[in-house]
Amino acid sequence: MNVNQSTIQIRTATANDLGAVTMLDGKITGLDKPDYWRDLIRRFGGRKQDRYFLIAETGTDLLGFIMGEVRAWEFGSPPCGWIFAVNVEPDQRLGGVGTALFDALCKRFRDGGVTTVRTMLARDDTLIMSFFRSQGMMAGPYIELEAAL
């Protein structure tokens, strides 16, 4: 059941969100990673400028979250916004939660002075790639390369 989009609230994550964030991620990935999310909420939950960990909720129910940061000069790139993670409660997908989170993060990036948003994802992660493409994102000028060591 989708929520009314006008009731979606976006705010910065706090330590109190750890349980709900860990649970949502676990529901999607099948992995329980509380230490990982505790560290990210600590580092991205508003302690440092240009780092964002945003929560979407209605009332007290967590609907999803998104995380990103403005980074500069990696791979020769001028400052741009990077999205590292986005997760939406499976029952709430296609209801505008992801779009609300994406828009809120992009607004913070724009307010921070950058004009490009970027992300990287697994080629076979069709669901999340479709989401980013639905937001108007397309392949950029970089290609990821790797090798077995």
Partner: protein, 140 residues
Amino acid sequence: MKLQMASRLALFAILELAGDQERQRSAGEIADAYGVSLNHLAKVLRDLSRAGLVEAVRGVGGGYRFSGNSKRTTLLDVILLFENVDGHAKEGTNGVKASATEAALSLILKEIDDTVRATLQSITIDTAVKLTHRLSAPKK
């Protein structure tokens, strides 16, 4: 990447019809809009109809309308009705024993195939329609 004509016609038709789902359009209107063969388009529309992506509406003002789920159907879903997109990596030398060179070339072509497939599989009809609208909007 070059799509076969049937795939291109199918995508033209689907994007045209999905762009305005309230409106029905005849095969002739779509063929005229894109300057393509009506006979070929009509055959493609029959295939799309069999796949449940378009529906023929009979009677005055009849034509075709999009009947799929534009947020679930991807460009790859449409193209696979008409052609295989994973062809390159499988190209061999017909009877010659596979060599390291052939294996290397196959690996490189597979990388291209994988990228093509991932791109087409991640773009829904809804996203492609939005892109079409964005490109057709007057520049500010």
